[in-house]
């Protein structure tokens, strides 16, 4: 396959990092791949990830055009950042292709694009969200209220997905909007990661020290991470108070530090707050831990980098059974229902203590599964498969577009009875029959 991959390429870009991993695998699988860097002009000279193939800047338009015209397919890495993805949006409009959707929320990308496409933007908003919603979109006074006001009801996912011939998304979270707007195939493919910091295989782990379990929560200590619930769960059980050492690594506000410490002290929980640390200290903390708490509420992310990395490290992860985490097999993680958070946390920790071999086996299963799943090879293979799917759904979609265009020329106005009449004999064109 001859592919063009539109993506940010700079070392600052996590999407770029992932795209480089995947591109190298595509090449290893025998594809001919050319990368087109999509960052805004002033970022085009920054250092790049190593893609293992030719990388072109988007501003060499003639070359890009020639390549796109002779390619089998175009792949667009799309995320919320306007400065990284504006170019991708532009080329996607003229040359439909596969979209790898990194963010469900694309409000900022859309907002940036709308500055030069106001009329079109209003039409897009109205089409997907109705007149009332559309009027609200440009009415927010600051970034926070913009996010709050749009993320649930106007995430702009449909705007991009409706222009795609196919979409790869990275978890089942928010898939509805994708499925509703993309007329081609949609796949959920786990994001590729590598975990260079993981130091040992689970089989030669040192045994837990004296029956104590080291529990870790990573990242910015906000309420979303349910740290208080963890403390309470430990605090309410004498066994857990005795045997669990809970550590927080990551940025923390002074009042959070104060209240969480007070809570732990009051309940007799062994809590260590490390604050923000550098990468090597973080690696060490993860390696030394036994269990990592990834419980969240509400769940905002499409995929959780920390959970994936924890599993790649061979650690037991405790997660909230929703969103991305619901995709993790039962045998690879401990899943908690938010509605019964503290009780279930408590019982899971207790059962781990009672059978510490589970720490090893769960960690091993998690590592095994994560290593096989979140791989660039798997991702690349699925990219190739979905491109094949796209090629098979394209003929029927093209025909439908022809008829829609004809109807538009005839000033057709949407009529469900007529639509039913037109479509009900066309079910044989579905590719999954």
């Amino acid at each position: 396959m001859n592919l063009i991959v539109f993506t940010p390429a700079g070392v600052r870009s996590a999407i770029g990092r992932m795209a480089a991993l995947v591109t190298r695998e595509l090449v290893a699988l025998g594809c001919q791949v050319t990368v087109v860097r999509t960052e805004a002009q002033h970022l085009l000279s920054t250092d790049m990830h190593d893609f293992g193939t030719t990388v072109l800047a988007w501003d060499d338009e003639a070359s890009v055009l020639a390549l796109v015209r002779s390619a089998d397919a175009c792949v667009y890495q799309i995320g919320n950042s306007f400065e990284f993805h504006e170019v991708g949006v532009r080329w996607l409009a003229d040359f439909p292709g596969l979209v790898c959707l990194h963010d469900f929320f694309l409000g900022h990308l859309f907002y940036g694009w709308a500055q030069t496409h106001r009329v079109q933007a209003e039409s897009v908003l109205q089409n997907w969200y109705g007149k009332e919603m559309a009027e609200r979109f440009f009415s927010f006074s600051d970034s926070e209220s913009f996010i709050e006001g749009t993320r649930e009801f106007m995430p702009m996912t449909e705007w991009i997905c409706s222009r795609a011939e196919g979409v790869i998304t990275h978890s089942h979270w928010g898939c509805d909007r994708v499925l509703n707007s993309c007329s081609g195939p949609v796949r959920v493919v786990p994001l590729p990661y590598d975990a260079p910091g993981a130091i040992n295989s689970p089989f030669d782990r040192r045994s837990t020290d004296g029956g104590t379990l080291k529990l870790l929560t990573i990242g910015h200590a906000n309420p979303n991470k349910r740290i208080a619930s963890v403390i309470q769960a430990i605090g309410l059980s004498p066994l857990l108070r005795q045997r669990i050492k809970y550590r927080l690594v990551g940025a923390i506000e002074p009042d959070a530090m104060e209240s969480l410490s007070a809570l732990a002290a009051h309940l007799g929980v062994n809590l260590l707050i490390s604050g923000e640390v550098d990468d090597s200290e973080l690696n060490r903390a993860v390696n030394e831990s036994d269990v990592i708490s990834c419980i969240r509420w509400p769940v905002l992310e499409a995929a959780s980098a920390s959970a994936i990395e924890a599993m790649l490290y061979g650690k037991v992860v405790i997660v909230t059974d929703t969103g991305f985490y619901a995709d993790i097999p039962e045998s690879c993680a401990i899943k908690i229902n938010h509605s019964n958070e503290i009780a279930e946390l408590q019982s899971s920790l207790i059962s781990l203590l009672e059978d510490q071999s589970r720490v090893v086996s769960l960690g091993a299963a998690a590592q095994n599964w994560a290593a096989k799943t979140f791989t660039a090879k798997n991702y690349a293979e699925q990219v190739m498969e979905i491109i094949l799917d796209v090629s098979r759904s394209a003929p029927a979609i093209k025909a439908i577009n022809y008829f829609c265009q004809t109807l538009r020329q005839w000033s057709y106005r949407d009529n469900p009875v007529v639509m039913a009449e037109l479509t009900h004999k066309l079910h044989i064109f579905e590719q999954n029959n």
Partner: protein, 345 residues
């Protein structure tokens, strides 16, 4: 040239348009072309189905065809760079019949939208056609009024004029053509009942349904006309039909508001027979000039009775009307070779 005639098909129904298409094909071949007929199944009930039928025709691809002659909606939506329309029918239920409340388009907004869709598609097809002809003045007027296109009238010729040399002035008035309520043969019977005892009538042609035949038979009985009327209700072999025309004193054809002249009238004129029709019959009035080529009566029994009597009152006058009818018809120069040439311009 390879000429494709494109027409609708109502499966298992064969009517005037099919006959016309067949004769057009025959005459194209006589003129030295290759000609085939494409008949496209068209289902317009329920009305919501119509858009699918329109899209179906629009998607057809023609290869190996030099020129297309299309006759009806939606057949004329077919795409071809050299497309001539010989408009027999638009979808009247989106036009004059819609305005008259006689449509299968649903009431309200839905129907309006379908009407609009049909009109937009029509405008596109008319604009992309090389030439548009209509088969009657009425159709021409309608096209001008609703779609703004000024077409020329191209009347379809009689298919076998040599069969209608005319002949002796017989003792009956001949009423030919399909038998149904719209053709109003029953009116002639009611007229006959009030007419002079001399007047005889021959009604011959295929009834659309058994009911249509039964109605006429019942009327004959009810009005006691068995000795003055002959009913030959079936599809007539061409020779039989021709003889009926050739031997008649005059020919009556009085449908309700028809678009075209009507073959019955054209064939009668070819045979130099005086014509009887009614004021609301539509296209035929192009050939029937009261007091010149025949009689135009009010669509009432007593008026028809007078006219029917007039046929036998003065046979010289009747014969001269017949001659005038023929002259008028011939002056219209409606012959197949010219028609073919015009269509392929």
């Amino acid at each position: 040239m390879k000429v494709l005639i494109v027409n609708n098909m109502a499966p298992f129904v064969w009517g005037g348009a099919e006959e016309l298409a067949a004769h057009l094909q025959k005459n194209l071949v006589i003129a030295g072309h290759e000609a085939e007929i494409l008949r496209i199944p068209f289902q317009w009930e329920p009305a919501e189905r119509i858009p699918s039928q329109m899209l179906m025709v629009r998607a057809f691809e023609l290869w190996n065809v030099d020129h297309v002659i299309a006759l009806k909606f939606p057949a004329y939506l077919i795409r071809h760079p050299k497309k001539t329309l010989w408009l027999l029918h638009q979808y009247r239920q989106a036009y004059d019949l819609y305005d008259a409340g006689q449509t299968n388009l649903p009431p309200g907004q839905e129907g309006l939208e379908l009407k609009y869709l049909i009109r937009q598609a029509d405008q596109e097809s008319f604009a992309e056609s090389r030439n548009i002809f209509t088969n009657s003045e009425v159709t021409r007027q309608r096209l001008l009024k609703y779609n703004g296109f000024d077409a020329a009238v191209l009347l379809p010729p009689v298919n076998d004029p040599e069969l209608f040399p005319g002949g002796d002035h017989g003792d009956y008035i001949f009423a030919g053509g399909r038998v149904n309520g719209m053709k109003r043969q029953h009116l002639l019977l009611e007229g006959l009942a009030k007419a002079d005892a001399r007047v005889k009538l021959l009604i011959a042609g295929p009834p659309d349904r058994p009911d249509d035949a039964a109605r006429l038979q019942a009327a004959v009985e009810r009005l006691g006309l068995a000795d003055r009327v002959r009913l030959d209700l079936r599809f007539l072999p061409r020779q039989v039909y021709a003889e009926y025309v050739n031997r008649s004193a005059a020919v009556a054809y009085l449908p309700y508001d028809e678009d075209s002249l009507g073959y019955v009238a054209m064939e009668a004129a070819t045979a130099a027979k005086a014509l009887i029709t009614t004021a609301d019959s539509g296209g035929i009035l192009g050939l029937v000039k009261h007091g010149e080529t025949g009689w135009v009566a009010q669509p009432k029994a007593k008026d028809l009775a007078v006219v029917m009597g007039a046929v036998f009152e003065n046979s010289a006058r009747t014969k001269s009307y017949g001659q005038n009818a023929r002259a008028l018809w011939e002056s219209m120069k409606i012959k197949w070779p010219e028609t073919v040439e015009t269509l392929l311009r």
